[in-house]
């Protein structure tokens, strides 16, 4: 029973089920999109935070090389939430390097050291100290050792063993001076080593440390060990490292500086922290901000990075909102247009404009009430499914992504969705309210033919498509408003598609930072610097090996013509371009590399131009050039750019560094690739890579020897047969050294898979929205004109003529909207990239592929959207259609 006029809304919703369902569908899609994006965003951030914590540590700022006095001061600062303190307890010698090893490796240290550091509880937590076996130390006589250094002990320590260590300092043997230690002292040794024992301490071994994933080579002479030290008593002679979590991250730089001021250390060097366990040269005193982590909270000390991140995120949200507004506005607009005469009737029987507006707005509210919860649910379910498939993929991995279902996100998406719907309905509501009562009494149908004021003669259209084509074109010109609505809606869909695929590309570039494509690498550091070819053959013969690459690398001088240098790169790195010659700059940071025969094959799919033809390369000194790098500028901005603008066919003058008398030789660029054969990311160091065949390599460097082999295993899991072989190799000859990167490879693979699932899932949703939106608008447009088409048939157009006309109309719509859409989309996608440029800068290329796909998709969809209702229209008898009143 109807008791208030506003119930009319409900009647309309039920009375026009199809349209209501379409509108609800639009709302559902929008809210689903919002929820998904926000959930992905939250989960991604959560994952990245965990990942960053894992590799950079869970602290905000670190004070390195502090004197003892400063420790308590920092701990008790009002702005400090928690502080972890680390001290260097001293080195202990665990092995004297054998003569044999020293003769084989001229850079070998005289001793193998244990670097004992004292962590308090907070420090262990913040720096992610994890044990492979046993537990963390809890007392000052407990110690954990690095698992990879155990074999260097005279007797391999077991859990629970007591070890007695003589802790002392390292000196330079020749001068007797104390050797300056960089940072925590885990890295760096000299050939000239002496040791002076100071104190003797006994420790119980309670656990073995996990090796960090990014372990450096040098750790083969210095092994870290951690004992517990609560730092209640401070030794003034020791150097301390204080890791701090702040109470709040606002103005972290000011707060840190005020701490420094109170310590009288105003002029201390400041910088960004590197990954944990990375070799770094830290001067005696240095403050480091954990900017990778801070960035994720939007509190990086680089202002522009924060602004850029939030701006870009805001831009994405704004684009989503704008497009959903467009979609919902569109459906509402159409549904209001259809009912214009009814609103006129309501006005006639005395409804005020405000009441009409209320009826439409209520419709928006009611539809939201239906649509939003479903959208939230669907979005969450959709994400659940996505995450389920991901969890399936990266099963057993710590770094998996956990789904973060935040009530805030749901609430936010609901609120945003609601505001969007309300906002979108406002225009149509106002339009409905502005209808004059006269409109109802004058015209009863919905097809209001606007007066044709000027029709341009379009002879070419007539010439190509015949009279139907001209008709179709005039139809578009005649009803400008309907044309605008339909075109607008299609354009929005296309813009959405292009912008998001551009965005996805951008994110992919950013996400694909780390990337190796080999499982193990074997290196020989013996005096010969040359791996016996039989070793390579033996490795290839192993069942578990999929592929092995003999790798030789020769640093070469190259003359880079001035006009080939990327000006942007030159601006950034001008201090590298110092040696000018007549032909150009002489650069030494170039590497000529050979990955053996199969290395070049692997490069083939990565070529961006040129071709790989080994014979020709051998003949012409051909190289494949890798000139794209990813670098971080001083302001924390990531750049992905080409160092040089070489093209296929260019010639480069190079000469080896040790210059074995050969002088400059000419190599020809035969292809350009963005990434090396065994890497999935861009190079992060400023080097120009030239990949070539072993023959060319031998020709230029004068030797066909190689000192490194990359091994690709068949399985993703650690494989004992390969490891055993490598271990026996090392035992036989200490010059061999190998690295196990299986887990890293697997993780990289999983990351790539995760990213793909996300990105393609996302694009899928966008395509679905765009598709439905076009179908909706175009078919409504046609169905509204049932009567008009009937008239045309009545005056003698055949079914075929009308169909042709309608199809042509659709074609014109598709063409117009397609072209406008891809242009606007490309412009917007450039804009987004522009906003992002303070965090990630890559050269923007016109997205030809997505533009082409979008245009084709638009035409196809319009065709489909035209065909579907046309079949329905054709079934309706003329007389019935003529009589039809909406």
């Amino acid at each position: 029973m109807m008791n208030r006029y506003t119930q009319l809304t409900g009647k309309y919703i039920r009375g026009q089920k199809k349209r209501s369902i379409l509108t609800i569908f639009g709302i559902i899609l929008s809210v689903t999109l919002l929820t998904s994006v926000a959930t992905i965003g939250m989960s991604y951030r959560d994952k990245v935070i965990r990942q960053t914590v894992q590799s950079f540590g869970d602290y905000h700022v670190s004070f390195n090389g502090m004197e003892g006095d400063a420790v308590a001061n920092i701990q008790q600062q009002a702005a400090v939430q928690a502080a972890g303190v680390i001290s260097r307890e001293g080195y202990a010698v665990i092995q004297k390097t054998s003569e044999k090893e020293r003769s084989e490796n001229p850079f070998a240290s005289a001793y193998r050291y244990l670097n004992v550091k004292g962590y308090d509880e907070e420090a262990m937590r913040m720096l992610q100290v994890q044990v492979e076996e046993g537990r963390l130390p809890q007392a000052s006589d407990e110690i954990i050792l690095s698992s990879w250094g155990l074999s260097s002990f005279a007797t391999k320590p077991k859990l629970g063993d007591r070890v007695s260590l003589t802790l002392g300092i390292r000196k330079v043997a020749s001068t007797g001076e104390i050797r300056p230690i960089s940072g925590m002292g885990d890295f760096g040794w000299g050939v000239d080593e002496a040791f002076e024992g100071q104190t003797k301490r006994e420790f119980t071994v309670v656990g073995f440390m996990k090796p960090a994933s990014n372990q450096s080579w040098s750790s083969s002479f210095i092994y870290p060990a951690i004992t517990f030290n609560d730092h209640k008593t401070i030794d003034k002679n020791r150097t301390y490292f204080v890791y701090v979590q702040m109470k709040s991250l606002d103005r972290i730089k000011d707060k840190t500086e005020s701490i420094l001021t109170s310590l009288h250390l105003q002029s201390t060097e400041q910088g960004s922290a590197l990954e944990l366990n990375r070799e770094s040269t830290v001067k005696s005193v240095r403050v480091e901000y954990n900017n990778e982590l801070l960035k994720l909270y939007g509190k990086s000390t680089y202002g522009s990075v924060n602004a850029s991140t939030s701006l870009a995120f805001a831009a994405i949200v704004v684009i989503i909102l704008l497009s959903t507004i467009a979609v919902i506005y569109n459906t509402f607009h159409i549904s209001v247009l259809e009912r214009m005469s009814q609103f006129g009737i309501l006005r006639c029987i005395g409804a005020t404009p405000a009441q009409i507006r209320k009826i439409v707005m209520r419709e928006a509210v009611l539809l939201s009430v239906f649509g939003i919860p479903i959208g939230l649910l669907l979005g969450t379910l959709f994400m659940k499914a996505l995450f389920y498939s991901i969890s399936f993929l990266s099963l057993g991995f710590l770094n998996d992504m956990r789904m973060v279902v935040s009530p805030l996100v749901l609430l936010g998406a609901a609120a945003l969705g609601f505001i969007t719907v309300i906002f979108s309905a406002t225009g149509p509501a106002r339009q409905a309210a502005s209808v004059t009562p006269l409109e109802a009494v004058k015209s009863t149908g919905t097809t209001k033919v606007e007066p044709v004021t000027s029709v341009k003669k379009s002879d070419w259209v007539k010439w190509i498509f015949g009279i139907e084509g001209q008709f179709a074109r005039r139809n578009l010109q005649r009803n400008k408003r309907r044309f605008r609505i339909t075109a607008f809606s299609m354009i929005i869909s296309l813009v959405l598609l292009i912008v998001f695929s551009g965005l996805v590309d951008l994110l992919r570039q950013q996400a694909s930072q780390s990337g190796i494509r080999y499982s193990y690498s074997l290196q020989y550091e013996g005096s010969s610097k040359q791996i016996d070819p039989t070793v390579f053959e033996e490795i290839v013969k192993l069942d578990a090996v999929k592929q092995a690459y003999p790798f030789s690398n020769e640093q070469v001088m190259a003359i880079i013509p001035k006009d080939k240098v990327n000006p942007t790169y030159y601006e950034l790195m001008s201090d590298m371009f110092v040696v000018e010659t007549e032909q150009g700059y002489r650069m030494s940071n170039n590497f000529l590399q050979s990955f053996g025969e199969n290395g070049l094959d692997d490069l083939k799919p990565k070529l961006t131009s040129g071709a790989i033809d080994k014979e020709q390369m051998n003949r012409k000194n051909g190289v494949i050039l890798i000139q794209k790098i990813s670098m971080m500028t001083e302001s924390g901005k990531r750049l992905i750019l080409d160092q040089t603008h070489f093209q296929v066919g260019d010639e480069i003058q190079i000469r080896t560094m040790n210059g074995n008398g050969q002088g400059y030789q000419t190599v020809t660029v035969m292809g350009i690739a963005d990434q090396g054969p065994l890497s999935t990311g861009y190079s992060e160091s400023a080097v120009l890579g030239m990949v070539t065949t072993p023959e060319v390599m031998a020709k230029i460097s004068g030797s066909d020897a190689y000192s490194r082999i990359f091994i690709q295993a068949k399985s993703d899991q650690p494989d004992d047969s390969i490891l055993n072989y490598l271990q026996t190799l090392v035992q036989k000859d200490a010059g061999y050294n190998y690295m196990d990167r299986v887990s890293e490879l697997l993780q990289a693979k999983n990351d790539a898979m995760t990213a793909s699932i996300f990105f393609y899932g996302f694009i899928g949703v966008i395509i679905l929205i765009a598709f439905l939106n076009i179908i909706n608008t175009v078919s409504t447009n046609l169905i509204l004109r049932t009567k008009e088409f009937a008239v045309l048939k009545a005056i003698g157009m055949t079914q075929r003529d009308v169909s042709k006309m309608i199809l042509l109309e659709g074609l014109f719509y598709g063409l117009f909207s397609g072209i406008s859409g891809i242009l606007i989309g490309a412009a917007l996608s450039y804009g987004i990239q522009f906003l992002y440029q303070n965090t990630l800068d890559t050269a923007w290329g016109i997205p030809w592929t997505s533009m082409g796909l979008a245009l084709f998709g638009a035409l196809f969809t319009t065709f489909l959207a035209t065909m579907l209702p046309m079949r329905r229209l054709n079934r309706v008898p003329i007389v019935q259609a003529l009589r039809a009143e909406e």
Binding site: I349, G350, T352, P353
Partner: protein, 225 residues
């Protein structure tokens, strides 16, 4: 007592070259309870006149004074309230809201007025209209005559002082026309309302208390048939 009066009412459509003078200085007075038929050829301006009398259009110049109020001195909202309470419209094409049942269509003006529904009165009107069995049907399920009766019910529900009917029988056969005219005359008498009706039907025009003829936008008073 004049319930309705127009003073030099003019309506011009278009401008410049394509100017059409639909009404040229119309002066018409209608007494309370009177049944006035407006006749004239199509395009003579009779519909324009009716629209102006009902506050649906705005005149180019002149006044319409209904129940002592100058219609067009009011703003859009006041005009809407005026239509809601004082004027009942009946159209040739019924113009019912398709998603509402007959009863709901009839009640709509009452609901628009935020009045609590006087169900007894609604029932009275519905049985007067002979729609008791069809009250829950949608317009699409009703015959033309039934739809027009529903429309009359909608026009009557707020007890307006004046009913404006634009060829109410234009889409109906003679039997249904007869019925609608009887119904209108009957209800006008019963509720002491004024009825102004456009009609092409000479017989119907004769049943009016008075018939006025419009020709080329001019009013020829008191001429019948």
């Amino acid at each position: 007592m004049d319930i309705l009066r127009t003073v030099n009412l003019c309506k011009t459509y278009g401008s410049e070259e394509v100017k059409v003078e639909a009404l040229k200085s119309i002066n018409l007075s209608v007494k309370q309870g009177e049944f006035v038929a407006i006749v004239g050829a199509s395009g003579s301006g009779k519909s324009s006149l009716l629209h102006l009398l009902g506050g649906v259009d705005r005149p180019t110049s002149g006044q319409v004074i209904l129940d002592g109020t100058d219609l067009y001195s009011q703003n859009e909202k006041q005009l809407a309230l005026f239509r809601r309470r004082k004027i009942g419209f009946i159209f040739q094409s019924y113009n019912l809201i398709p998603v509402l049942s007959a009863e709901e269509n009839i009640k709509l003006p009452m609901l628009l007025d935020h009045k609590s529904v006087d169900q007894a009165y609604v029932d009275e009107i519905i049985s007067l209209l002979g729609l008791k069995e069809r009250r829950h049907h949608l317009p699409a399920q009703l015959s033309g005559g039934q739809q027009q009766r529903t429309a009359i019910g909608r026009a009557l529900i707020n007890k307006p002082s004046i009913l404006l009917a634009d060829e109410p029988t234009g889409n109906l056969d003679s039997k249904n026309s007869q019925e609608i005219i009887e119904l209108l005359t009957y209800s006008v008498k019963k509720y002491n309302q004024t009825l102004i009706m456009i009609t092409h039907d000479r017989e119907i025009a004769q049943r009016a208390d008075r018939a006025v003829r419009i020709e080329d936008g001019l009013l020829l008073n008191g001429v019948t048939g």
